[in-house]
């Protein structure tokens, strides 16, 4: 068998261009589903992990619940709009809410979102028994307007330290250089890492955000150039509400669902809908991957078929030297299997490598970590499919080789 393998290997090496093209197509066919599925899995894990530190109900302006969760929990995209502060005040007074954290969004510094909030933020815990999610690493929490506490990631990316000053700009993302508020903020503290998108945010008092916009007489409700809803003096973007219990959480949700002032959204539920979208995309791309695999099978077949047609003289010679028909058949099948297996292996390395690279680029841009895990559940299928295709693609060329007429090929009339 090992000599058959050697012969199969030499067969592949005898036609390097065709072998490499076939190999690349098989590798792509394997890499594509791996990349799609591992990135999808990573995005799910990342989103779940990113929303972990809170365990809250998000209350914000009516509109898309998904957008509300994305903009407040994952700090992605524009906020839905603003809600009146009275909603927040009534939540503070509501016995069903154990903790209410205000959020006023709409400005940024160097692309890091500025979150107007209160010291209630410091009481957020993933679960009752866990330590608070937000802990000061150095300095202190803001005690006055225009003081800022930086998330660990923001401190690093902005290169700011305690005592430094910065000017906030309009909008939730980096905009024009001169589109900035006049009054600068002073950094008074830096948070420990929370392993959430909030690591890339800058925290200030809600009244700082209000004052920044009032001072410039901006149209309340819209950031000057970025056209992003911004919390004006009687408005907030959202509130993170930690309900007293499970029943209260549902009651609160129902209250807002029935009302007209604001909406409440469970991050898990809204992200679940997002996962459905992800799954749909994954399904389509995975089907594309499998189609590429079929094309890869055809390429193996064509490559082998033409190789066997060109090698009939050599096959006849091998027969004359003592190789029986079954040996020849085995060598051709091994050749097909060898190339598909090498392709499958290269595809894995490429697939996981591409996933890690894409995840790194995506998570740098979005601040949502995308952990790439080895997916053992994919393995049986992604080995069996190429092996099956290799066998299938190899059978006709192998039969063709099996039938080679030694005399006809070695001694053409």
């Amino acid at each position: 068998m090992s000599y058959d393998l050697f012969l199969a290997w030499r067969g592949l090496r005898a036609r390097p261009v065709s072998t490499i093209i076939t190999l690349v197509i098989i590798a792509l066919a394997i890499a594509l589903p791996i990349t799609v599925l591992t990135l999808g899995d990573g995005a799910r894990q990342g989103i779940i992990r990113a929303s972990d530190p809170f365990g809250v109900l998000v209350v914000g302006a009516k509109g898309s619940g998904q957008q509300l969760v994305l903009s407040t929990i994952l700090l992605q995209g524009a906020p839905v709009g603003n809600m009146r502060t009275s909603v927040f005040e009534s939540l503070q007074a509501d016995p069903r809410a154990a903790l209410v954290v205000p959020l006023a969004l709409g400005d940024n510094v160097g692309g890091a979102r500025i979150v107007g909030t209160s010291d209630a933020l410091l009481q957020l815990r993933p679960t009752v028994n866990e330590p608070p999610a937000f802990r000061i690493a150095s300095g202190a929490f803001f005690a006055a307007d225009y003081q800022a506490v930086l998330g660990a990631g923001a401190a690093q990316s902005l290169g700011l330290g305690i005592g430094d000053q910065f000017a906030a700009a309009h909008g939730v993302e980096r905009g024009l250089d001169d589109d900035v508020h006049e009054t600068p903020y002073t950094v008074v503290g830096i948070f420990d890492e929370t392993q959430s998108p909030y690591d890339d945010a800058v925290f200030v008092s809600v009244s700082s955000v209000w004052k920044a916009h009032e001072a410039e007489g901006a149209d309340p409700g819209l950031s000057a150039l970025a056209l992003v809803p911004v919390a004006a003096s009687d408005q907030l973007t959202a509130a993170l509400v930690k309900p007293v219990g499970f029943i209260e959480a549902n009651q609160l949700w129902q209250t807002f669902a029935a009302g007209t002032e604001a909406q409440a959204a469970f991050p898990g539920q809204e992200l679940g809908a997002l996962f459905d979208l992800l799954a749909q995309g994954e399904r389509i791309l995975t089907i594309v991957g499998y189609l590429v695999l079929v094309i890869a099978g055809l390429t193996v077949f064509l490559s082998l078929y033409s190789a066997i047609a060109a090698r009939q003289g050599a096959i006849a010679l091998m027969r004359s030297l003592g190789a029986d028909r079954l040996t020849i058949f085995r060598v051709v099948i091994l050749e097909a299997l060898l190339i598909t297996l090498i392709g499958a292996l290269v595809g894995r390395v490429t697939g996981y490598g591409a996933s890690v690279a894409i995840a790194s680029i995506l998570s740098t841009g979005s601040s949502i970590p995308i952990p790439i895990r080895f997916l053992p559940s994919l393995e049986p299928l992604l080995w069996l499919l190429p092996i099956g295709l290799g066998l299938l693609a190899g059978i006709i060329p192998a039969v063709q080789a099996y039938r080679v007429d030694v005399i006809e090929k070695l001694f053409p009339a």
Partner: protein, 241 residues
């Protein structure tokens, strides 16, 4: 050693008349015998060699080699038997393209399995050294001259220490000096291993080297001198399709 009995071979092709190319009543070649088979192109020399080598089933007749009836064996068994017991030097040498000189010698040893695996490399190198190719072990056939390719083919045919060596026009592409060297090596090697040697050639220079010379004319063997041909003129009249 080799015994041929009532051999007939007829080529049939659709639309063409059947053509009988071999008709040999009986022929025996003893172990260690060296026979020169002469005949013009188309006289049936290569067909006869292919039949003796177990590559071409004759239309009729019995071929016994080393006590085994060649065409009573299954095809796989015959392939293995050929690898182990018969060395065949083709007229056009036929080396494996894409394989080195050394690998061309290792291949029949691998298929035959008669030489222990650990001795194969040494055996191949030693033979290649004998034919003056030790400096070309890792060359490919397309990097060799015609004469060098022939020497590889000779070494390959001897590699499994066959009981019977068939050489089809081995010196056709060589100059007289090289032809002489190759023939000396072939004959000595066969003598040393007591293998039977049948050389098909119409090179008159080879005649003096072989005490037994046979003519193959229109598929029939006739002796030039005594020896191994018995009833050479006996013709089998029936030539079924």
């Amino acid at each position: 050693m080799l015994h041929i009995d009532a051999l007939t071979h007829t080529y049939t092709a659709s639309g063409l008349e059947a053509r009988t190319v071999l008709q040999i009543d009986t022929w025996t070649v003893e172990r260690g015998a060296q026979v020169l088979l002469r005949g013009v192109s188309g006289s049936g020399k290569t067909t006869l060699f292919n039949i003796i080598a177990g590559l071409l089933r004759p239309t009729h007749g019995m071929i016994t080699l080393d006590g085994r009836a060649l065409y009573s064996m299954g095809e796989s068994a015959r392939d293995r038997f050929r690898a182990a017991r018969i060395g065949y030097i083709f007229q056009t040498h036929h080396l494996m393209p894409g394989f080195t000189v050394l690998e061309n010698l290792l291949m029949p040893m691998q298929f035959a399995g008669v030489i222990p695996a650990h001795q194969r490399n040494e055996r191949a190198r030693s033979l290649l050294d004998h034919v003056g190719l030790s400096a070309h072990l890792h060359h490919r056939p397309n990097q060799l001259s015609t004469g060098q390719r022939l020497r590889v083919a000779v070494a390959r045919a001897l590699v499994n220490r066959p009981a019977m060596l068939l050489a089809d026009e081995p010196t056709a592409a060589l100059d007289p000096d090289n032809a002489d060297r190759v023939m000396t090596f072939l004959q000595e090697s066969c003598r040393d291993s007591d293998a039977a040697l049948i050389v098909a050639s119409h090179d008159p220079a080879l005649a003096a080297r072989f005490p037994t010379r046979l003519d193959l004319r229109a598929g029939r063997l006739s002796p030039e001198s005594d020896t191994s041909v018995r009833e050479p003129h006996t013709i089998i009249e029936s030539a079924p399709a």
